[in-house]
């Protein structure tokens, strides 16, 4: 009975292991993408002991861009590594190729292992000379074959060009966060900007307004609030926000320009005055010529 149970559990475990390992072997490689694997095998030239994949140095970022570019052109990992080795010297390879002067680095471990095997086997089989030789040869062949196989097997990960994710997932996260803590101006502002990016202007406006109420003295938020109202087709509603900005900071030129334009177009008094003040402060502004035309047009 017990033997029977043991046998069954062994068979079950072995079957489970086989099925599991087989599915894992057949599953697509998930060990990162190819670009990262190539970057991990290159040394960042301006850092100490960091790979291109991990370094935040500008040169590493540039090299990552080159890797992406070349992968998209269809080059193999080996070709890209060779390309970098040619430009930056073999020093850039963290896994020196046996062909490019790095042979010593592969020979030494092989010799160390061979020496150990010879030593152990000769001590075990004194007298029979062919055994140590045969075992050593077999062990060495095994080591070399293993290295050859691993170096021949190019990193086989997939390469998907880094796509810029949209703001869509951000909206959900931020909405939840704002719901649980609506008094946080930073969260309100972040949600407003995410909604703004997603084109949901009306909703964005509400959260800009909320952020602005929580931080009444922050002119940047107020200005964002005003611009979203203008883009949403409600320029008149933007007037109070812009007036508040100018009350806090009378020389806030973007607010001068925007409020001046709104008032001018609405035919309301005071618009011209604001635009003239803008011209005085920012004569070189790209919008200045347009404003000048607008003003002269109005006078004639």
């Amino acid at each position: 009975m017990r033997r029977w149970a043991v046998g069954l559990s062994i068979a079950g475990a072995v079957a489970l292991a086989l099925v599991g390992i087989l599915t894992a072997v057949l599953a697509p490689n998930q060990r990162g993408d190819l670009a990262r694997e190539v970057a991990e095998s290159l040394r960042c030239p301006s850092c100490v002991g960091e790979s291109v994949a991990d370094s935040s140095a500008p040169v590493a970022a540039a090299m990552r861009a080159v890797i992406d570019e070349q992968l998209e052109e269809g080059r193999s990992a080996g070709e890209i590594r060779a390309w970098f080795a040619e430009r930056y010297g073999t020093e850039v390879l963290l896994d020196p190729s046996p062909l490019a002067g790095g042979w010593l680095l592969w020979l030494v471990p092989a010799v160390i292992i061979a020496a150990a095997v010879i030593l152990i086997v000769t001590r075990r089989h004194r007298g029979r000379r062919w055994i140590p030789l045969a075992v050593t040869a077999a062990a060495l062949a095994g080591v070399i074959a293993a290295w050859a196989v691993t170096s021949a097997a190019e990193p086989s990960g997939s390469h998907s060009p880094t796509t810029a994710e949209g703001a869509a997932p951000a909206v959900g996260v931020l909405r939840d966060a704002v719901e649980s803590d609506s008094g946080d101006p930073q969260l309100q502002l972040a949600l407003a900007r995410a909604l703004d990016d997603a084109g949901l202007l009306a909703e964005a406006e509400q959260h800009y307004a909320a952020a602005s109420r929580l931080r009444p003295l922050d002119t940047d938020i107020a200005y964002l609030h005003a611009t979203v109202l203008v883009r949403d087709g409600r320029p008149v509603d933007a007037v109070p926000a812009l007036e508040r900005i100018l009350a806090i900071e009378p020389e806030h030129t973007p607010a001068l320009l925007l409020l001046g334009t709104i008032l001018w177009e609405g035919g309301v008094q005071g618009g011209e005055e604001l635009l003239e003040r803008f011209m005085e402060l920012e004569p070189e502004h790209p919008a200045a010529t347009e404003v000048r035309e607008l003003l002269t047009e109005g006078r004639t």
Binding site: I10, V19, G32, G49, S51, D95, L105, V173, A190, A194
Partner: protein, 648 residues
Amino acid sequence: MGIIGNALTVSCGILALAAAALWLARREQWARLATVLSLLAVLAAVALMEFALLARDTAVDYVVKVTEEALPAYYRFTALWSAMEGSLLFWLLCLAIVTVAFVVHGLHRLPPRMLGAAAAVLCAFVAAFAAVSIVASPFTLAEGSIADRPSPLLQDHAAMGIHPPLLYLGFTALAIPFALSCAALLTRSTGAAWARLMRGWTVVAWIPLTAGILLGAWWSYAVLGWGGYWAWDPVENASLMPWLMATALLHVTGPRMRSAGWRPWAIVLGGAAFALVVLATFLTRSGVIQSIHAFSVSPLGPLLLAVLLAAVTGWVVLALHGRSLFHSDARAAVLSRQTALQINRVALALVTLIVLAGSLLPTVVLAVSGDRLSVGPPWYERTLAPLAVVLLVVMAVGPWLRWGADSVRSLLGRIWLPAVTAAATSGVVALVVRDVVLALAAGLTAFVLVSLVVGIVRRAPGRRRRAGALLAHLGVAIAALAVVGSGIGAVTERTVAVGQTVLAGDTSATLVSVDRVDDGRRDIAEARLLLERDGESLGEARPQLRWYEEHSTMLAAPEIRPLFFDDVYVTLLDFDPVDTTATIRLAVNPLVSWLWVAGGVAVAGAAIAAWPARPRRGGVPSTRSTSGHTGVPDTAVVGAGGAAGGAA
């Protein structure tokens, strides 16, 4: 104050030299006195330096070099080991402490000649490092070196107070196995007491070394912001090699292990471990090797090289003198515990040699041929992976093997339970995660876990020690699992505006704001992000960038959210206060936090296994257990005697 400090260091050296001579001349009373006095001298020098650091006494040059007005007291205290000169003084203190501890502990345990020889070697090392410390001269620095300030990295993290002292303690404690190795060769004898002390002091070194190395890995992970914990940096390797030797030594000197040609191995490993420590000291302080851990170039290089050469030459001369100890004709069947232990030490020695080759070859090639080569993680992974597999398999199965001779049939009859569990675990993990290597590592961990449970449940003599050693093995298995798992992460780096999202795998981070604060010592930029996975909020992350104006150095302070199966790791790489955009690196690192747990498990296991047994009535406890026959895995870590506990 500087003169007193220098005088104390000099007198430490002279006293230690005198003590070494007195030990050799077998004037033990005087020798003991001189040894203790040399410790007191360096203790006074260190106390003086600590006083100067805490009081910020600018008359002492070293204080000017390593501290600044706004530095908190904690980092002033740890500043003793934040630059080369002070760290050598601290090193000397650790060495003097272990020397006195060894003498006090070994006094009635070792034969007088053996004790005298070992103590003489230790005192000679104290004298040598006192000379190094005098040349480094922390109390009165040379003109140029004051400006060469330590990195703010060493004033930024609480680990600064623990990681270096642990490593120094572990490193210096390895001087004792070296001294015992020399003593055995000089007296051409070993014995039970010698082996007990060898083992006990190796455990005393191994525990802080393991903890220190892992703490360093954690520090690197938590602070440097690159998301990794081990870079195969030459200096990291320098700490790994003595650890590998100490691990091999632990598996040679256990009482029941002393049957498989253990003596030559114990002597050689004891010598090699500390020789590698001195090599590490030389590499970090000579500027020979470029590394983030290295101190600047200095005249100490040649002096440390001389100490290294003297130690190695001395050991080799003694080895020729005591070569009769190297004869060993222990034979055992191919399938036996002895073979498992043999494979263990050979493989550990090979790993050490390959790591040594990888650390030194680029420098050698550069010096010889002028070719610049880099040896990085891919090289180490490929050369060491086969050996690591061998070591892990032997670690799992070895404790189940019988001494003398075993048969495959009988072995399979004993290990079916852990084997079945391991196979089932591998299968399940492979089905869930779809990664073969991770599945096999999980299977190995399950195997060792079941071995541990069996070892605890079945009553047999030496149960506590066996359980401790199997617990240490479990720690190593979990560490292997964590290392394999950490390779399957996802990383994304993107510049985002407020309200935008970075996505890595199924985890997202949404930027809420970028703020700046100045806390006097540094200018801090902080990004505020909302983390989310599968529609569930993981809370907020606030990674920072800290700009140290005075050092013109930028340090990252990543935020790590440890979850059960992975860490969410967020780094702020760059920010633009005008556009309120931030460059964020979001990484999902599977199983990394298991590595820290693994370290705790391994250290706890070693401590449990080596804790000295209460002396039983009726003399020496029997080390013969029936374990091999009752189906209990047995790591044979039995009878460490009073050595380890007494010394610890």
